[in-house]
Amino acid sequence: MRLYPIIILMLSIVNIACTPKVAAWERGILAKPHMLLQSNSLENSVRQHMHSSKEASAGGRNAGGGGCGCG
């Protein structure tokens, strides 16, 4: 199954990424509106609509939030 190497790669990166801890009070930059993975859902929706009506591909949009845990 081709997905297994990808999942292992993702988990490896997460493992590496987890080493430098960013404390909750150090996440101010990550909480800025322009750091969000998706900043305007209506705009994303119309753009995805446009692309999916012209192109044969689907999926791949961000499923998770910024994960900044700022809230």
Binding site: V22, R47, S53, S57
Partner: protein, 427 residues
């Protein structure tokens, strides 16, 4: 290859809208499964977009809005709606000019000249629907999110209706923050049920789409984060385009294909199963000296029809004063063609699948856009924030922009422009 465009007698055209109703439902269903906290005050958005293609060949006006309302401390309810109107003409058939030109009259192509032998890579005429088509679509999504400490659960149901297409969908999503909220894992599952009743044909067909989604976002540092996602989609049922036609040079009837009114012209026919997979990576980095954010995305897509695609996108968010932001973007997309796609067919295939729908051809798209936003806070006693946005995006779609080589015809080439204006109010 020379391209000639011919307008043919008016035919009901629902191509753009009908084919994309389900596609529209899917992205909205898989949009956001954000772990986090619910909003504390209601918000509402309204957006108007105008899409225009080629020389005003297609015009679409899209009105959208949404309302998000908090329910007590740990839940929220959302309502999204869309009304879009489509007008214009789209291609339905490619014909080698050698067999079509001899019978082309003022009212369009009535028949074809079967005495000619057609070879590959001949000059092509693109037969269009009439230019007077007008159609309206209504859609609504209802969402409910429930927030636990590190867990967010979301349920969305969607409904979309137009004269020849009905789409119903639901999606379940879960997002889990862990690793001191440095990491978010999200899972989603959804189904879309479509009913297709083409206005020009006496058929009624159904289609079901299933989607499973996996996402992982990770904080890398105080100023960067990354997101991975993987999607698997399984479509079954009627996956053809009921309005599209193909020319197949053959002396005998083609097995399982339906004649579309002219000799050797048949309705588009695709497999009744389609497996699709996509993996994507998104990286966001803060550039401190400019207070800017750079977003870089890549997606790889592959399906069981032998289409694969690459999408690259970069977006720069640049604050230009306290309340103003400029957002330029660049996007490049390239896909290979489906195994049963050809501009036209000079002979029959071993499998009974044929399509000349340009969406299944090999092409690339290069687009660029610019958006300007401004916001005002503490507007009055009952309005906390108002944000305005205006943006435009221009794209060129062409076979010569395909990554690698392609022999597909340049007949599919066109340009389009998208203009959006939006207002967001936080109470």
């Amino acid at each position: 290859m020379q391209v000639v465009v011919v307008a043919v007698v008016a035919e009901k055209n629902n191509i753009l809208a009908s084919l994309t109703a389900a596609a529209l439902a899917l992205p909205s269903m898989v949009s956001k499964v954000n772990a986090g906290t619910p909003i504390s005050q209601p918000t509402t958005n309204f957006q108007y977009s105008h899409y225009t293609e080629g020389d005003e060949r297609i015009n679409v006006d899209i009105y959208q809005g949404n309302v998000v309302v908090p329910i007590e401390q740990n839940a929220e309810f959302s309502l999204d709606w869309v009304v879009d109107t489509f007008s214009g003409a789209t291609p339905v058939l490619n014909l080698p000019v050698a067999i079509a030109s001899s019978t082309t009259g003022a009212s369009g192509i009535d028949t074809i000249d079967n005495s000619q032998i057609v070879l590959d890579n001949q000059e092509v005429i693109q037969v269009m629907t009439g230019a007077s088509t007008f159609e309206r679509r209504y859609g609504v999504d209802l969402g409910f999110s429930y927030f636990l400490d590190d867990l967010t659960l979301k349920f969305v149901t969607a409904y979309s209706k137009e004269p020849d297409y009905l789409s119903k969908a639901y999606k379940l999503g879960l997002a889990w923050d862990f690793n001191q909220k440095l990491t978010t894992l999200s899972l989603g599952f959804g189904q879309v049920f479509d009913q297709i009743r083409p206005s020009t044909r006496m058929i009624q067909e159904n289609k079901i789409s299933h989607q499973v989604k996996f996402g992982l976002s990770q904080i890398l540092s105080k100023q960067s984060l990354i997101n991975f996602s993987a999607d698997y989609m399984y479509d079954t049922g009627y996956l053809s385009n009921p309005y599209k036609k193909v020319f197949i040079q053959t002396a005998t009837p083609v097995q399982n294909l339906i004649n579309a009114g002219m000799p050797n012209v048949f309705y588009d026919q695709r497999p009744e199963v389609r497996h699709q997979g996509a993996i994507a990576i998104a990286y966001v980095h803060y550039i401190a000296p400019l207070d800017a954010a750079l977003h870089v995305d890549y997606r790889y897509f592959r399906d069981s029809w032998n289409i694969d695609s690459h999408t690259f996108e970069a977006v720069w968010h640049q604050p230009i004063s306290e309340n103003w932001m400029l957002i330029p973007r660049l996007r490049y997309y390239s896909q290979s063609s489906a195994q049963f796609y050809k501009t036209y067919f000079t002979q029959t295939r071993s499998e009974p699948y044929y399509s000349s729908d340009h969406r299944l051809s090999a092409f690339g798209v290069l687009s660029g856009g610019l958006k300007l936003t401004t916001e005002t806070t503490n507007v009055n006693a009952w309005t906390n924030k108002i944000k305005f946005e205006v943006g435009l995006e221009y794209a060129q779609q062409a076979s010569k922009l395909t990554l690698g080589k392609t022999s597909d015809s340049a007949i599919t080439d066109f340009n389009y422009l998208l203009i959006t204006t939006a207002i967001k109010i936080e109470f």
